[in-house]
Symmetry: C2
Subunit: 706 residues, 2 copies
């Protein structure tokens, strides 16, 4: 016991002295996430029944070996904390007879190994010493003879290994808005998520709690998507707490023999910082932005979930939008990484991610976009082997033109829309080409130059082949697809939007797509916020920001007018009454708090404030703000090293920089007025670029609206 | 509650009426074994430290879907027991609101699905109905879009899902043979395995238990391979029970403040039936057979372990011999299947089985040999996909001649012997060729004709290439190998023995190998019972059974003379005293109860009683008994459908058949005397074959020794 005390004293000392190198729990890359996913993905409930996913869910490796080559001048005492049983080896030899929480490392250069076994959660390790502590300089293997850098997160405390990960809670209370015998309807004022607490439950019988995103849903009892039927059998008062549920309303009804008291809840949330912000002269857009951010936050949890009432699963296509929205709001890198690891699981790849062809590509692109916003090369290196095996799976199923088509068992999703999904859909080929680019760039980062070259080459080929095959001079657009060798005569928005967004076409072609597709009302309209994400972005890319905002006012504004406190999975303005809440053939099947609805968070940040990185991790960045018809806009966009603040009205633009080298690009009828020593260059007709190369500085620019 | 009672009554009725179709727990193929392996493989202890394997250990899939297409005329109530949470679907629709232990299946033709989630052990399901019950007619998927037949074992009770699997126990007591102050040395009379019980432990301090396969090891205290240092801190008497350990001796010593009473044990064992038997006129051989069988039994547990004191792991090469010995003793098919599934785990294959090149091939051959003895086509079909991916892994690492060599990270084991293991070792090519045959035959059984053809073709090529490359007319033998393009000038026994055993050479070549290798004392001798297994078999194959028996008398007899109560991992007659117990650089590192030492169990059954299947599952079989210099032999060899009994002395042979068509092949100076109606044909000089085609019949044959 004496030795432990001494070592603990040493730790306190060393943590002060080397706070940068604070010991952290380490694990096998992705296995914290893979484990957490097993905990989370089966929490979906449908009318009292559990509902785990319909694809393979992997478990973490239960036996992994951590290794560290160290060199120390003097022997030092390390404290050891492992989640699981472990074996300690020095230079390959097992160490016998030591206090399992404390060990004196021999001086000199040695190879230290911990073989940790834990099949219940996953193996993790914390070693605390003055010179030798666990962190990302350790290596780890699942004993497949491949070594990775050990993964480490923000877990420092011996008492809290990574498997102790949990979200945070705040008590919230509702208001009884209806009472009838032994039944109450409670309104929490807005959609929330958490554990429901029923006070003073007593008696014998069933206490039924029906959850509603709307009042109608709660009152629909077993037609509600989620509910709890709690058996009660007790003679003393006690509290009941449920699993986490999503609701605004709770309809509680007790059988005659059951009595119960107040119904409140523990709001459960991921503690994120609201780093991004947006405000403008239009209160409706401000309201939309706030509700969108709240919607995003509710769905940003252990992972980026699709919706909180129903699936509570990670869907790669949905999550891809969340990664991007996250970069304009919380800039929480960890939740992106958790999501990407969990979605991918382990090898072998036997189906597409979520079984959806498109979703495999969104995953690859998501990894690269995460890197581009964060500059986190280490993450790319860790996950790259899994990108490669996923891409190989896709390429092995490509046809002889190199195009991908849905194979038996694949789901070709694209969008909830009545379109042809069989054969070579042009949209899928664009995702393939972008996916190839993402893997190529990641391969280069991971040092796999040969594979990078292969992917670049393939991507170029596919791109050429896409335009050669699907571009129609007659329609001035990319056609929808080809099936059994026959080209579709139909144009849909998907491929054309993505060609614009991926920068695959020049201005002439872009113009044709704008006029003949994006602004063409005879082309099948998009009706989900999901694809609206891309359509609104492409509208902005082709210079139609005002139109994009008008749509946001109508569509998002429409939901708010109907009383939405969070943004919905889908919204059809032509519907009325309870029709709005139905989906999938069920009266309340629609999710009224769906991450993909939070689109304006991204749209306003990227296309109004106009901030985006131009090299990985915001080492360089661009601000291209736009009023889009508003009087003024202002807001914040987070970067890895601080927040960029932007203000714009009809006369001036103010930018407060973070770090990195920025460029402000603006239209102005004449040379803008910049401060002393600030470089402003003309880069086209009425177009200027101003260098913002001092960190944390506020630049004020006078300009003249064009 | 009423409904449950009714359904239980129905079950009792249906189990009586349809006892053949008794409901059984089902699971995803191999995952009971994969899970059990995670429980077992880390039980190795080395001087107080845990010692899990140094290869990847897989976990079972935590989410699987069971499916059954049923058709019933009337609705019926099924009882449902799942280990894990489950969701029930009829024709794809989730079922809401039902007693989770009981459900009324609708009449007609329906698709019934259970999605079961369990990440703690593994998902399993028991459904009991009159017409619809779980069993091997159900399908299962891990949701990778591949369906397997559900795996079912001997688990029938709702209270005992497969994860409740455990071995059995019998109390055993030892004798105090030395007492000194607060220390005792207890002798259990022979090596056993089990949990140690220390009675009446009281006081404060440490109670140390040192286990010895020998008295010396127990008394060597912390030099013993295994021990328990039990902390004691109590003021009332209580019993302590340890984890399972292997020992004959226990040296127990308490610190002054600790008192303890009797030391006994719970012998832990797999309940097997001793179906095989062997007895002869030489009491030494009988003793050897009994000790070998006991050694095999101690190591035949959840899986075929290598040894019970030290590794307690499954090693594919060791296990291969156990499968074969098992067929001549317990004929416990389940332990073979458990071992084969556990060794293989899940895809992807990233290393050889146990990291050993040879051991991947033994695994493939093991699957096929298991099939050949049992006729269990269903098992082959279930495991075949994993044979294919393992073989593909091996073939992807072959060189341009198609030969395999150790790659970085591979262990080329062959045997504990000072031989060249780098480059193209001829022995490994023989295993490769045989492995290809095994996969080819399994592929044919699994309906993968194309792959079967590929493997046959490859196997033939490799076989030709082996003899073309390694056969030396000068040495009259296969050379040891080729390294960097240079042929070895050395002949070792391995390749030559295996060429004989695999039937790859004609009688002329066999004769050359016998004279120039097997009986040639200048060739490096074999010193482990492991390779002796093959050497003794090849001696028998070349007609040198008496020599084989002489070796058994000397080598196995030698261990018995030294007091062995079980057979050792290795034995060198030239050593003396405690030298015998040392291995791996540790004084008691050698395992004195090692499965591969049980070789005589197989040797006597296959080569003295001479019984073996000639088509899968003993549909046809051969008895070719041999006295090998003994006065008489008698014994039993189990088959899937009963036991074949053989007696032979110098005048008569008696065979009691099981089922299947048998042939008795014997040498006799003149036409043997067979009973009326029994067909006896001459098949060579002094060689006769007698048809034993009536089941469960005793045939008595008079013959005349040649």
């Amino acid at each position: 016991m004496k030795q432990v005390l001494i070592s603990l004293i040493l730790i306190v000392f060393c943590l002060d002295a080397f706070s940068e190198d604070k010991a952290r729990w380490i694990w096998y890359p992705g296995d914290f996430e893979v484990w957490l996913h097993t905990e989370v993905c089966g929490r979906r409930q449908e009318r009292g029944q559990i509902y785990p996913p319909f694809w393979r869910v992997d478990s973490p490796y239960g036996l992994v070996r951590f290794e560290k080559n160290y060199e120390i001048a003097e022997p030092e005492t390390i404290s050891i904390f492992a989640e699981g049983r472990y074996q300690l080896r020095i230079d390959g030899d097992i160490v016998y007879h030591f206090d399992p929480q404390s060990f004196v490392l021999p001086a000199g250069k040695h190879d230290l190994q911990f073989l940790v076994e834990n099949y219940k959660t996953f193996p993790s390790l914390l070693v605390e010493g003055e010179m030798v502590s666990t962190g990302e300089t350790w290596k780890v293997t699942n004993q497949d003879q491949v070594f990775y850098q050990a993964e480490a997160g923000k877990f420092y405390s011996p008492q809290q290994p990574p498997s102790a990960f949990c979200l945070e809670y705040k008590p919230v209370s509702g208001k009884i808005i209806q009472k009838n015998g032994n039944s109450v309807l409670v309104d929490f004022g807005k959609e929330i998520f958490g554990k429901v607490i029923v006070a003073d439950v007593k008696g014998k019988g069933t206490l039924e709690l029906f959850y509603g995103e709307t009042r109608q849903e709660a009152l629909a009892e077993t037609q509600a998507e989620t509910y709890d039927l709690l058996p009660v059998d007790r003679t003393v008062f006690a509290f009941d707490t449920t699993e986490t549920r999503a609701f605004r309303y709770i309809y509680a009804t007790g059988e005659p023999g059951v009595s119960f008291g107040e119904i409140s809840a523990l709001y459960e949330y991921l503690p994120v910082e609201y780093k991004g912000d947006f405000e403008c002269s239009d209160p409706l857009l401000n309201h939309i932005h706030d509700v969108s951010t709240y919607t995003l936050h509710l769905n940003t949890r252990e992972f980026h979930l699709d919706g909180i009432k129903r699936d509570r699963w990670i869907w790669s296509g949905d999550a891809y939008q969340s990664y991007l929205m996250n970069f304009y709001s919380f800039f929480d890198e960890d939740v992106n990484k958790r999501t990407l690891f969990a979605l991918r699981g382990h090898d072998p790849v036997e189906t597409h991610i979520n079984t959806i062809l498109d979703y495999s590509f969104y995953w690859m692109i998501g990894v690269y976009d995460h890197f581009f916003y964060t500059g986190d090369t280490a993450f790319v290196k860790q996950i790259y082997p899994r990108m490669k095996t996923l891409l190989e799976f896709c390429l092995n199923r490509a046809n002889k033109c190199g195009f991908v088509e849905g194979q038996p068992g694949d789901w070709v999703f694209i969008d909830w829309a009545p379109i042809e999904k069989e054969g070579e859909v042009s949209f899928e080929q664009l995702l393939l080409s972008r996916g190839l680019e993402a893997v190529a760039q990641s391969a280069a980062l991971a040092g796999d130059g040969e594979y990078a070259a292969k992917c670049y080459r393939l991507s170029e080929q596919i791109k050429e082949e896409i335009f050669e095959t699907f571009w129609s001079d007659e329609k001035n657009a990319l056609l929808h697809g080809r099936k059994d060798g026959v080209l579709s005569e139909i144009v849909t928005r998907y491929a054309n939007m993505f060609a614009i967004l991926f920068g695959y076409c020049d201005d002439t072609m872009k113009g044709k797509m704008r006029d003949h597709v994006i602004l063409n009302d005879s082309i099948l309209p998009i009706t989900t916020p999901y694809m609206k994400f891309y359509e609104l972005a492409s509208l902005c890319e082709v210079g139609e920001k005002e139109k994009a905002l008008d749509f946001v006012r109508d569509y998002w504004g429409g939901m708010l007018k109907l009383g939405a406190t969070t943004i919905w999975e889908a919204y059809d303005p032509s519907q009325s009454g309870d029709e709005h809440y139905a989906m999938y053939g069920r009266p309340f099947g629609k999710s009224l708090c769906h991450a993909w609805g939070a689109n304006p968070v991204y749209l306003f940040g990227k296309y109004l404030l106009g901030v985006k990185p131009t090299s990985p991790g915001y080492k360089t960045w661009l601000v291209e703000p736009s009023l889009a018809g508003l009087e003024w806009i202002k807001g914040k966009v987070p970067t890895p090293d601080g927040v960029i603040e932007v203000f714009m009205d009809k006369d001036i633009i103010r930018v407060r920089t973070a770090s990195g080298k920025g460029i402000l690009r603006i239209k102005s009828k004449k040379q803008p007025g910049v401060g002393k020593g600030v470089v402003c260059s003309s880069v086209g007709k009425n177009l200027y670029e101003i260098k913002l190369d001092v960190s944390s500085k506020e630049y004020t620019i006078r300009y003249w609206q064009t």
